[in-house]
């Protein structure tokens, strides 16, 4: 390959992600993005300016050596690229698909100012997929057994990342999962069309091959308490990564009508229980030709509304109380949703869900909003426009406004400090909780956040667990 000058690199146009035609993908759950092929990946990697001080790395919650791996991709050294990513991220095929790159690495990229950031996420995904399909990396050898045992509660992103690092350190690791499938939100929450479950399965199989023991159908807090794990079960430390798994509802009349789902229930029926499959035994309400309204503006709301499209909804809409600019969803998901025909009803807030005599949902009463002054997090606060209230038909409502911590584990462990919001108190850098030997990270600590932030917390906790197991110091 001839080396390009910086000027030449900057002239290259961004390499767009090839994706399935919207009209086709509306009809099924196949993955939307096809991924780069090697040629596209190399072309995109050649755009990287290989900055002397690559500030993209500052934008990555786990600090992937981004410019290094991209340089390898430009040189067609895909295995080396994967090795570089692997130093900091054990789940690249997942993160390459679901991270909000535009506010992380790509948002930090110097080319972002010109509106042409390097598609770092697409490249990460390419490297992970290419290597997995062609020449899987040898996993890092585990350090000699330390004889220490760690229990990881929850098999979502935080738990998996934590388990991966702990097994490498030579500890014995058992991951406990309440559901019958492993992966947490990666399997019950994120739909197949955005994150194929085979990929999650393959990452988990990789961990199992490296010696991580997985136990499904095990609810810590009821089958074993946390104290049981530390005493009779003989674990030396516990990591709590149980997520924020209790759905928030709107707090308006009519929420218990038939036709009203939490996003968790709707997505769980589809993703975990496969309700879209003819063979599956878990039912889902018939959405063919129906009006489906999704409340919320995050990635979960986009997942839900795009799922409704795929189930044949006649009109699938997002109802959000601010505007497109304030929506926390990834830009790519919003674009995909628009291409699939999702309607975005902005600046509306629910007042009531309306039912018929059989307690079935028939409509929603909405309050028109306008944006006021910015609030604490800098987003402009929506406020009602007095008197501007209207109704629209709805057969199904999905509430995707976030989750609060699940009480199952924490309520049987009274000596764990928690915040007034019910989240677990854990140190940001070390994951240490108020209880000796117990660490936490991910959504149970931060409240609803992202896959990559949970992974980062899992990894920091793993480092801190390693230290604790070596020194015994708390």
């Amino acid at each position: 390959m001839t080396e390009l000058t910086k000027r030449e690199r900057m002239k290259l146009p961004p390499t767009e992600m090839p994706e399935r035609d919207p009209e086709i993908r509306r009809t099924g759950f196949m993955e939307v993005n096809f991924g780069y092929d090697p040629d596209l990946a190399v072309i995109e990697a050649q755009r990287c300016l290989l900055c002397a001080r690559p500030i993209c790395i500052d934008g990555c919650p786990v600090g992937i050596r981004i410019s290094d791996f991209i340089h390898h991709v430009a040189l067609e050294e895909f295995t080396e690229a994967a090795e570089v990513i692997g130093i900091d991220n054990s789940l690249p095929a997942i993160c390459g698909r679901v991270c909000a790159q535009e506010v992380q690495c790509e948002g930090a990229c110097v080319l972002d100012k010109k509106g042409k950031p390097i598609h770092i996420g697409h490249l990460e995904r390419f490297v992970a997929d290419f290597v997995r399909e062609n020449s899987p990396l040898e996993p890092p050898p585990n350090a000699p057994p330390t004889g220490k045992r760690v229990a990881v509660v929850g098999s979502g992103p935080a738990g998996l990342a934590c388990a991966s690092d702990l097994i490498t350190m030579g500890h014995e690791v058992t991951v406990f999962e309440a559901l019958h499938e492993l992966g947490g939100v990666l399997v019950y929450g994120i739909p197949e069309f955005r994150l194929p479950k085979d990929i999650v399965r393959s990452e988990i199989d990789g961990l199992a091959d490296r010696g991580v023991e997985f136990r499904t159908n095990t609810v810590i807090g009821s089958l074993d308490t946390l104290d049981d794990l530390l005493t009779e079960e003989g674990y030396d430390a516990v990591f709590i990564g149980v997520g924020a798994g209790l759905p928030k509802f709107l707090g308006v009349p009519g929420e218990n009508l038939i036709g009203v789902y939490s996003a968790n229930e709707f997505l769980t029926r589809i993703n975990l229980m496969k309700a879209y499959s003819a063979k599956a035994q878990t039912p889902i309400l018939d959405m063919r030709g129906k009006n489906v309204v999704v409340f919320g503006g995050g990635n979960t709301a986009m997942d839900a509304v795009r799922t409704a499209v795929r189930l044949g909804a006649g009109r699938a809409s997002i109802a959000y109380r601010r505007t497109m600019d304030e929506m926390p969803a990834r830009v790519e998901e919003v674009h995909h949703a628009q291409a699939e025909g999702v309607v975005f009803d902005m600046l509306v807030s629910p007042l009531e869900l309306l039912g018929n005599d059989d307690s079935r949902l028939v409509g929603v009463r909405l309050q028109r909003m306008e944006l006021g002054e910015p609030d604490d997090d800098g987003r402009r606060r929506p406020k009602p426009i007095e008197g501007d209230i209207f109704e629209q038909p709805a057969d199904v409502v999905v509430i995707a406004i976030g989750n609060v911590p699940n009480p199952l584990l924490l309520r049987t462990t009274p000596d764990l400090d928690r915040t007034k919001w019910g989240t677990l108190v854990a140190d940001t850098d070390t994951g240490r909780t108020s209880k000796k030997g117990v660490f936490g990270g991910g959504d149970i600590v931060t409240g609803g956040a992202t896959v990559i932030l949970a992974m980062g917390a899992g990894r920091r906790a793993a480092a801190s667990i390693g230290e604790y197991l070596a020194t015994g110091e708390w």
């Binding site: 019958h180 159908n217 095990t218 798994g245 209790l246 929420e255 939490s262 496969k274 035994q281 018939d286």
Partner: protein, 271 residues
């Protein structure tokens, strides 16, 4: 894992299973349930733990074949494994010394009421059980109830066995002749609602074990929410037992019919 140690018929279409589950047997308390899956792509169904033996390492489940999954489960035999089983889930029953407690079970609900009756008796209460069924074969757990209760009153709709009439009529009769400090009921929704209305005028605290549609059973989906005193509660993590005088049974009954259309359209050909 989850091996079926024994299966026998309790009533027409109702099977009694003893399932190997040493840890659940040790941990579970009266009123709790498990979630079971019996086939790939199968649904998750909640089943109350009817009994357990911590030493023998098993729990007992009673299953009525009413849909696809329960029908498939009731075809399983000794030595078969349940594909998945998770528990114990839900809040245990409140077991204290209340005095005299009437435990009312209707149909399969008697299998739910029995462990509570047993635990209440174990805590020193005088337990009067009233167990109903359509006809004689549908009155279940009578011998078990007799082993722990002060009085046992089988009731049948057709008079083929025991008291000819509704469990609520029998409950009235019991409350008229002795002080009842608390009532627990489990069974069809109309029965639980009728029990609540029977005890409400007397102000007797009454608890109902609810059976809404569930998916995960761990609080994650909120599909099992019920309205209690005007507030939404999750039956899986806040229940399944609630103050029967506060429960909106009408809403529960309607929500439990949410998927009748789906079931009609997806009726499985039974192999």
């Amino acid at each position: 894992m989850n091996t079926i140690l024994e299966v026998r018929a309790l009533a027409p279409d109702v099977a009694y299973f003893r399932v190997e589950a040493p840890k659940i047997a040790k941990r579970r308390r009266a009123g709790q349930f498990v979630i079971v899956r019996v086939e790939a792509e199968g649904e998750r169904i909640p089943l109350t733990i009817a009994d357990s033996d911590p030493d023998g390492g098993w729990i007992a489940l009673a299953v009525q074949a009413v849909g696809h999954t329960t029908t498939v489960m009731n075809r399983l035999r000794e030595g078969d494994d349940l594909l998945d089983m998770v528990g114990p889930l839900g809040q245990p029953s409140e077991i204290e010394l209340f005095g005299t407690v009437a435990v009312v079970g209707g149909g399969l609900g008697t299998a739910i009421a029995y462990p509570v009756a047993k635990a209440l008796a174990g805590a020193g209460n005088d337990v009067v059980s009233i167990i109903g069924g359509r006809s004689r074969p549908y009155v279940i757990f009578e011998a078990d109830m007799r082993a722990c209760c002060d009085e046992v009153h089988p009731c049948t709709d057709d008079g083929s066995y025991g008291f000819h009439g509704l469990v609520t009529t029998k409950l009235e009769e019991v409350m008229a002749r002795r002080t009842v400090d608390r009532v627990i009921c489990a069974g069809p929704i109309p029965m639980m609602r009728a029990v609540a209305e029977t005890t409400r005028p007397r102000g007797v605290p009454t608890i109902a074990s609810l059976n809404p549609i569930m998916v995960d059973g761990t609080g994650m989906c909120g599909g099992c929410r019920v309205s209690v005193g005007g507030e939404s509660r999750f039956a899986c993590v806040d229940g399944p037992e609630f103050d029967a005088h506060q429960v909106d049974f009408e809403l529960l009954s309607r929500r439990n019919k949410a998927y009748l259309d789906w079931e009609a359209e997806h009726k499985q050909v039974q192999p």
